[in-house]
């Protein structure tokens, strides 16, 4: 049986899941953070593209849980557990949280990248999910693609080419 390889896309403030031979990808992470939670034995993974640290920042009633670090980690975890992954074996890789613009004005929102990274680490720590690799901070945008077959995360930036973590 031939299998068609698909690249599953994750939009901004969105999350999705993948199993081999498919890979999962999100583009244009600036201050946003891409979170991948995966289980090597069953080769399943989920990816979220979060924009903000805390769901408590939402100013309207309905919360898109994939947009915030705390709720996105919760949802990834629950879905992976429901798919049969063991929580003890879940691992994470994260990328993003850059500071693209250097502003002289002290607008708190312009420092959202580092805050997002902190929030993701806190959320993962609550569930004792270990971060195996990370590529965070700096001032470059990133496009990332995760392969659940190899558990490798490919990171592309404009100036520094491609690297794998």
């Amino acid at each position: 049986m031939s299998s068609v390889v698909n690249v599953i896309k994750v939009g901004m403030a969105d999350l999705n899941y993948a199993t081999p031979p498919n890979t999962i990808r999100t583009t244009g992470l600036g201050s946003c953070v891409g979170i991948i939670i995966y289980e090597e034995r069953q080769k399943i993974c989920g990816m979220a593209h979060i924009m903000l640290p805390e769901s408590s920042m939402a100013r309207s009633g309905q919360v898109n849980r994939a947009k915030y670090a705390d709720t996105a980690v919760e949802d990834l975890l629950h879905h992976l557990e429901q798919s049969g992954a063991s929580r003890l074996r879940l691992k994470a890789k994260i990328a993003g949280g850059a500071q693209m613009f250097q502003f002289s004005t002290a607008n708190e929102m312009m420092r959202i990248g580092p805050r997002n990274v902190e929030a993701v680490k806190t959320a993962l720590n609550i569930y004792k999910i270990k971060i195996i690799a990370e590529d965070v901070g700096g001032n470059s945008g990133r496009t990332i693609e995760f392969d659940p077959e190899t558990s490798k995360l490919e990171i592309r930036t404009v100036n520094k080419g491609i690297k794998e973590i």
Binding site: K9, G11, M12, A13, D14, T27, G28, L29, G30, S31, C32, M51, L52, M57, A58, R59, S60, N64, K67, A98, M100, F101, Q102, F103, S104, T105, N107, M109, M110, I112, N139, S140, G141, R142, T143, V158, N159
Partner: protein
Amino acid sequence: MSYLERIKPQHLDILKELGNIGAGHAATALSRLLNKAIDMTVPSVQVVPFSEISSYVGGEDAVVAAVMLRIEGDAPGNMFFMLPVTEASRLIQLLTGDSTVDFLSEEVNDMGFSALNEMGNILAGSYLAAFSDFTSLNLQPSPPALAIDMPMAILSYGLLELSMVGEAAIFIDTQINEKDALQTEQTKGHFFLLPDPDSFEIILNSLGVTIDE
């Protein structure tokens, strides 16, 4: 109710007019800087869900140069002047007479960056001045900041305020074009105006339009 549900097509038309006036002034400013004819398209105003923004801004592999300004005052928001990086290099070569300017190269060219920043500042400033005159709102631009990177990574900075309120952004987008030697139109760049959520009502009110009818 979210501001997005309250904004109707007729309101988007008013925002379009705003983009038209603002970018018109900016195109004139650019045309004076370069001593060339610069056109602009009728602006588009679109409500784009966050999850679709990557396809809206297009070209995953595209690299753009963008000058961002934070708008402060009566109707806060963000503004971007964005153009393909090769185009940015070409414009600054024309402007400075230095043909070695290349924003993709590893070597930092301070003069080039500074010129691009200033050009963005002048253009965005003239956009904003026209916007301010038209609405009688008091608006001040922050000092400009420059980035050369993927369009979506850059634009996401303009979406943070909006993202706390809804799941979509209203893009007031105006393209500026230049005719080349063969008279074919080429897109030179975009102005994106992204008002903060609370600013839409303030802008519309300043023009005598109420949102809830």
